[in-house]
Amino acid sequence: MGKRSFNILDVTLRDGSHAVKHSFTEEQVRQVARGLDQAGVRYFEVSHGDGLGGSSLQYGLSAVDEMKLIEAAVDECEQAEVSVLLLPGIGVKEDLEDAVKAGAKMVRVATHVTEADVARQQIELGRNLGLKTIGFLMMAHMAPVDKLIEQAKLFESYGAEVVYVTDSAGALMPHEVKERVSALKDHLSCKVGFHGHNNLSLAMANTIAAVEAGAAYVDGSLRCLGAGSGNTQTEVMAAVFERLGYQTGIDLYKVMDVANDVVAKIMPRPQEITGSSLIMGYSGVYSSFLLHTHDAAKKFGVDERSILIELGKMQAVGGQEDLIYEVAADISKRNKALV
């Protein structure tokens, strides 16, 4: 008999939106959704990278209306259920209602790790709409463990059924993931999840640490197609957990096929750990800043790494993409003054 089972939630069609600059087409979404469904993945997420309503000049406009993409994904599913991401302050109530009409069955409400109290309305709405409702504490590396517990308890008190430790910057070390997931397991009665990024090549190790500490939900993306260097690689996760003796319910060959035959063809570049994503993990910067930083560095002729280090020092949080251009402009001005 295998060890306790847990859920692998695939975020390729949401976190991967960052890596393709929000250009997913309906056909691409259909193919990935079909593949995930047939491979036995129970839940996967479809939304703009910054969640419902994220299509904007600030984060990038969606090529295709995300409601159409959600509807297409749902249409391909026989057993899998579609999740959506919602960031209070970006997406609104109507967006979630529309997503439910399109067939979404789960919502993950995301806030910065110290700001859970902005999510009460949305968590309650998710429950009222009959969705599986999850709290998502982003940039978990930026708060001490006791603060994380306090904020997770708020999510639980609003009605969240799972609370995630979300390593948005890919900055956590395996022992820190273990400490955080264990702490939430000890202090909450709801389930705990983990979402990682691979900026320091630790996503798989961190996910193992999370599962061993009792996480019931862990996220991954096919071929690591997510922000920064992407997430824990879903198909690798399926293989690793099988070797570790867990039951994942995922067919390894089928999930490899959708990764390599479908997703690989969508990828604009390999999801390797570049100088910039490494620095994101190293200095704790939100992973979806990657391509915006790349563009800003080019525009102002400065080193991407110096922009990222500065953003880390400024304690920038998720969503502050507008800061990137300002920081790049400032560095460029300073460099010129030095010449």
């Binding site: 000049l57 209070p88 609104v92 109530k93 700001e115 009460r120 304690q315 969503g319 507008d322 251009y325």
Partner: protein, 293 residues
């Protein structure tokens, strides 16, 4: 000349900060603070400074209606509806700092002169007060198809009301970007940043204009508008030069508060109270003009 008398309902952060703004008014006389919690800091401070203090809310104020001519409501949207009915029935002017939006939206340098005679006006949101002047400034130089604002405020300056109603913030602001700013379509985003020391409120305005090639006109219009806002919020400034990219214009603003009741980083709260005080002043100026005719 007797000054017109001002009352504030709501002795929380906004109401208390507004009290200091009204003290500096040349048109209005700060006269009464109305609250429901006798131990609140706002009521304590109002008493210390020699103002009338009412501790049983609107009912108390209705017993002494002669204490006020203009009432600023800094309570909640739910309470405001009731306050509005009571106060306008006896002819008091009402300036609404809640998201209730019973009266028209007012952003002083854009449309205040159109609404001076209204019995009730609404102050939109802090993000709206900080960004709609810029949307309008661009719009009057080159028609705006789409405007999107991103307000980033320090976590410490976002009170429980904002936190519990963040959806109302984004929706109300988006609506006012269209109705007051002039954009065909509006969108608002709010980000809370817990950095310590707290960050000064920053706002980014991204717009798409109908046609390229109006850079000089847009820049001049923004510059004029910034000066106008600085008349009542001296710490309102551009962080860097506006950026142009095809039909896209991005403007970066910082709002440093006057440091009355809130620390200066809370420009978001300051611009609300400063704008409301400005509206009160101009309404009073008009009342005085009518009375002297």
């Amino acid at each position: 000349m007797t000054k017109y008398k001002a009352g504030i309902i709501g002795s929380g952060n906004i109401g208390t900060d507004l009290m200091y703004k009204l003290e500096r008014s040349d048109q209005l006389e700060m006269n009464v603070m109305v609250g429901i919690d006798p131990s609140s800091e706002g009521l304590k401070r109002a008493k210390e400074r020699g103002y009338h203090v009412i501790t049983d809310g609107i009912e108390g104020l209705m017993k002494q209606p002669e204490l006020v001519d203009i009432v600023f409501d800094a309570t909640t949207a739910g309470a405001h509806k009731y306050h509005h009915d009571q106060l306008t029935a006896i002819g008091k002017k009402v300036i609404d700092l809640t998201p209730a939006a019973i009266g028209p939206f007012v952003v002083p340098p854009v449309n205040l002169d159109q609404h001076l005679s209204e019995p009730n006006v609404n102050m939109v949101t802090c993000g709206g007060q900080a960004t709609i002047p810029i949307v309008h400034a661009i719009h009057r130089a080159a028609p705006v198809k789409y405007a999107e604002i991103v307000a980033t405020v320090s976590s410490k300056s976002a009170g429980p009301g904002t936190r519990a109603n963040i959806d109302e913030f984004t929706r109300t602001t988006a609506r006012a970007i269209e109705e007051v700013g002039g954009a065909e379509k509006g969108k608002a985003i709010i980000i809370l940043n817990p950095a310590d020391p707290p960050i000064i409120m920053r706002d980014t305005v991204h717009v798409l204009v109908a046609e390229e090639g109006k850079e000089a006109e847009i820049l001049a219009s923004i510059e004029d508008m910034v000066k106008e806002v600085q008349n009542y919020v001296p710490g309102y400034r551009l962080r860097s030069a506006p950026q142009f990219d095809g039909t896209k214009v991005s403007v970066f603003i910082e709002v440093e508060g006057a440091g009355d009741f809130f620390p200066p980083y809370s420009g978001n709260l300051d611009i609300m109270t400063a704008a409301a005080a400005k509206v009160g002043n101009e309404m009073t100026r008009q009342l005085t003009a009518i009375a002297s005719r």
